[in-house]
């Protein structure tokens, strides 16, 4: 019996407004304003100090460093949502009576097979190369990692970073991705609502903070989102 497309996990966050295009645009504007608010004053202070007293150049340089470092830290936080996470020791397969045993194998290989079945050919190849699963949705193009997801909005000018994970750390990496992918496919807006929004900004800011292996996935998502 199908019960519609509402993600059951939404019951755990009843206070949150449902994430939709309007919500994403609003948070994109808030993040842009916030970035300007902590960057412009430092840059302006550096300029004023140099204008008033050229000998204050070291202090001005420190102010400029702040104007550069703080946005970088936020972008690093955004990129961190899709960084691979360490796995915990796996659980026994015989958790339930009457289980039809799956032949013993490397759990990640088994999980990779299932994840591959859920993805199309191109997406499967991309996931194996980069560790990120590309999924086209109504809100944009998603890149799903083990413990987070990136959403590139239509047009590819803004990237939203979401921290979201499955509540079972013993799962192999590909199973964690499959969990998030299935939840995303059931209810895209619900998935984004349950996830914690970590960052929004220009894709290039996050791209250079991603592990090199993952960068082609963002390039592919940008091409797919145009």
């Amino acid at each position: 019996m199908a019960v519609g497309q509402a993600l059951p996990e939404l019951a755990s966050v009843p206070w949150r407004a449902r994430t939709d295009e309007r919500w994403l645009r609003r948070w994109g504007r808030i993040w842009r304003a916030w970035t300007l608010a902590y960057t412009v004053p430092f840059a302006a202070a550096a300029g004023v100090m140099l204008w008033l007293e050229p000998l204050a150049a070291p202090v001005a340089a420190a102010a400029l460093a702040h104007a550069w470092i703080i946005p970088e830290l936020y972008a690093f936080r955004g990129a961190s949502v899709v960084r691979p996470k360490p796995s915990k020791p796996r659980a026994s397969s015989a958790e339930a009576p009457g289980v039809v045993a799956t032949p013993a194998a490397d759990p990640e290989l088994v999980a990779q097979g299932l994840l591959g079945d859920l993805l199309g050919h191109d997406e499967r190849e991309l996931q194996r190369r980069t560790g990120l699963a590309l999924e086209r949705g109504e809100l944009g193009v998603w890149l799903v990692g083990e413990a987070g997801a990136l959403l590139l909005t239509p047009g590819g000018r803004r990237l939203h970073c979401f921290c979201v994970r499955v509540t079972a750390p013993e799962l192999p990496p590909s199973d964690r991705i499959a969990h998030l992918l299935l939840a995303l496919r059931v209810d895209e807006g619900g998935f984004a609502t349950v996830a914690n929004h970590a960052f929004a900004g220009a894709p290039w800011r996050v791209r250079r903070r991603l592990p090199k292996r993952m960068r082609p996935a963002l390039d592919t998502a940008r091409a797919a989102g145009r």
């Binding site: 019960v3 039809v100 192999p172 996830a195």
Partner: protein, 74 residues
């Protein structure tokens, strides 16, 4: 042959297999499905590219039902 699988620490475990004409096998899979729900798992049917459906009962006429754990903001 339809399959009920659970994603777990082994990659995944097959909990049941049935055909539309095999009531006994379907009944056993249904019992297993319900016990997994009680353990906190969520039933999901992959519907093809980009689509999946949350189910609270085991559909007889599908190829694959996947039991997954809940997700949460990290």
């Amino acid at each position: 042959m339809a399959r009920l699988i659970r994603m777990d620490g082994t990659g995944h475990t097959t909990l049941g297999e049935w055909t539309a004409a095999d009531d006994a096998a379907y009944g056993a899979a249904l019992d297993e499905f319900r016990s997994q729900l009680e353990l906190g798992y969520i039933g999901t049917v992959p519907d093809g590219p980009g689509k999946a459906t949350h189910v609270r009962e085991l559909p007889r006429e599908v190829d694959l039902v996947i039991m997954r754990r809940p997700i949460a903001g990290g």
